[in-house]
């Protein structure tokens, strides 16, 4: 049915609210079966981009093709093939857990019997079988999220859009959720997810675009991005908020590159321990120090001069 293998093609995609540019002229493509991530801080324009892909927000300019169709005119047809997990759970508070799934299936025009059957399978998948008759409100954050994901799978979508799937969840709930998403990925579902957690982006995506202020800053696999924009290791040292900047001047020549944050100094090189020894030898004993591998957080810092989570 599709001419090309790309499920999303965005070309100079732009969204303007009033005179505020939320998404600024971005272009990217996502091939079928890929797990694609948008990484960026709050307000970067991730949700706005996702809504345009989901055909629920009309683009201001540029071109957008989703599953080979134009969201402006083919909204219902596109959405019939998509699963969407919005940033904020919008479960139907007036319906019970299982009814939520069935009513949703009916919105796709699924026959009632089929919707029931599929709902039961998905409740199992989402590990919610003991809450079938429960109201929505008393569910925990993790359960609501899993129910929303189950709901998004009702129509057996070709592509799943997940907007910050684990924001606000505790670590355990996050891991349960990641496990469910891995399974979908293994089955070949195309995943598009946004996040401002670098670990999530690293765990779940094959390829990432880093976005900030509505623009794409970089693109590649997590490993590629780290290789390209950061060093192998990072040394973090702290001298107390009043002293960091002063000390930084004196050790500026250590390592390949340095970022001075209000609460700590980051020194990039391929051997953190060696740098730490060098600094202490010069008599600058940090209150705390840490050597770690580079992450996407460092990539972002390098690209924008700001941290992801502020």
């Amino acid at each position: 049915m599709l001419v090309s293998n790309q499920v999303i093609r965005a070309e100079n995609l732009t969204k303007v609210y009033g005179d505020f540019i939320a998404v600024n002229n971005i272009s990217f493509e996502v091939p079928r079966g890929e797990s694609f991530g948008l990484l960026g801080p709050n307000g970067a324009g991730k949700s706005t981009t996702m809504k345009m892909i989901a055909a629920v927000s009309t683009r201001s300019s540029g071109n957008l093709e989703v599953l080979g169709m134009d969201p402006n005119t083919e909204g219902p047809a596109i959405r019939s093939q998509l699963g969407v997990v919005p940033q904020e759970d919008n479960l139907d508070q007036e319906l019970r857990v299982r009814e939520n799934l069935i009513a949703y299936g009916r919105f796709f025009g699924m026959p009632r019997a089929e919707a029931s059957k599929r709902a039961d399978e998905l409740l199992e998948f989402a590990q919610l079988t003991d809450r079938v008759k429960s109201k929505v409100e008393p569910l925990s954050g993790g359960m609501k999220r899993r129910l929303t994901i189950a709901r998004s799978l009702m129509n057996d979508p070709q592509m799943l859009l997940l907007d910050e799937p684990t924001t606000g969840l505790d670590p355990q709930a996050r891991h349960i959720l990641w496990d469910r998403l891995f399974r979908l990925k293994e089955r070949g579902t195309t995943l598009v997810l946004t996040t401002h957690y670098m670990d999530e982006a690293e765990q779940l995506s094959d390829r990432i675009i880093v976005v900030d202020k509505g623009e794409i800053m970089a693109e590649g696999s997590p490993a590629q991005l780290i290789r390209q924009y950061s060093s192998k290791e990072v040394l973090e040292v702290r001298y107390g908020s009043d002293n960091n900047a002063k000390v930084a001047k004196k050790i500026a020549d250590v390592g390949e590159r340095m970022e001075i944050l209000p609460d700590r100094i980051l020194i990039y090189s391929d051997n953190g321990e060696r740098d730490l020894a060098e600094i202490t030898k010069r008599g600058h004993h940090p209150t705390t120090s840490l050597v770690r591998r580079s992450s996407l957080e460092d990539v972002f810092l390098r690209l924008t001069g700001r941290t992801l989570v502020e």
Partner: protein
């Protein structure tokens, strides 16, 4: 392969042709939660009828409508029916829509599926009319029991109520599409209350000077009250065409504005 058949996107992607699922969801939600509340809505006009019709009716006695003497209760009952149609339709198309759009996020959920905004709008309005129709039937039964139905034409009050409700609902939705905050919604009663009180609801507008009469006649409720009163009292005059035309125009204007605004309202 996918579990669902891709629908044709009609009206430039505004509809997936499945408003029926929206109605079904509404009924399901009603069944599982708030049928008591819906039921209670029926009592409001009935209480009014008991209170004003019986209590005040005993003091006022009969009243003259287009030359016919009718009991006070039979005079206000059709008005209360029209008011209740207006209130229900306005509530459903303003507060209810605004809330589900901005807080309950129900419409966002619906629009993640192959439904389009037109399906949502049509489905919700149909639900509102369905409810209005049920109330109207109930109210007519109460009127009949109190001996306030003066003509078999009263049966036509039911479609008339639906027409009135549809007219108000379409205008209400158009209004909501321009709404930004809840606070703006506070101004609604300032239009509805005077309409309720002055539109020949409790006494004929002939008590007013002509200028004011003319103003009242320019508002929709007066036409609704008069229309239903004609049917329940059986005193039909050629003015009926004016009333019907008024609502036909109102409905058309509302529908045109709403369909223009759907994209703005739902897909911004």
């Amino acid at each position: 392969m996918s579990a669902v058949v891709a629908p044709k996107s009609r009206f430039g992607g505004l509809s997936g042709g499945n408003a029926k699922a929206v109605i079904e969801r509404g009924l399901r939600a009603t069944m599982s939660n708030n049928y008591l509340i819906i039921l209670s809505g029926f009592f409001e006009p009935v209480f009014y009828l008991f209170s004003m019709g019986v209590g005040l009716g005993a003091i006022i006695g009969n009243i003259n409508v287009n030359g016919a003497e009718i009991p006070y209760g039979a005079y206000i009952a059709p008005a209360l029916l029209a008011v209740s149609a207006m209130n229900g339709a306005i509530y459903d198309s303003t507060w209810n829509v605004f809330f589900k759009l901005n807080f309950g996020k129900l419409y966002q959920t619906m629009l993640l599926t192959s439904l389009g905004p037109l399906d949502v709008a049509v489905g919700e309005i149909t639900l509102a009319l369905l409810r209005g129709g049920v109330y109207a039937v109930g109210f007519l039964i109460v009127m009949q029991a109190m001996g306030l139905v003066l003509s078999p034409l009263a049966i036509l009050a039911i479609p008339a109520v639906l027409l009135i409700a549809a007219g108000f609902a379409s205008i209400g939705m158009a209004f909501t599409s321009y709404m930004k905050t809840f606070q703006q919604m506070d101004w609604l009663p300032m239009v509805m209350l005077p309409m309720f009180l002055f539109s020949a609801t409790f006494y004929p507008i002939t008590v007013y000077p002509e200028g004011i009469q003319f103003m009242i006649q320019s508002f929709p409720l007066w036409h609704g009250v008069e229309l239903i009163r004609m049917f329940t009292t059986g005193v039909v005059t050629p003015m009926i065409w004016v009333h019907l035309a008024y609502y036909a125009v109102m409905l058309c204007v509302g529908v045109v504005v709403v369909s223009r605004r759907l994209r703005k309202l739902f897909l911004d």
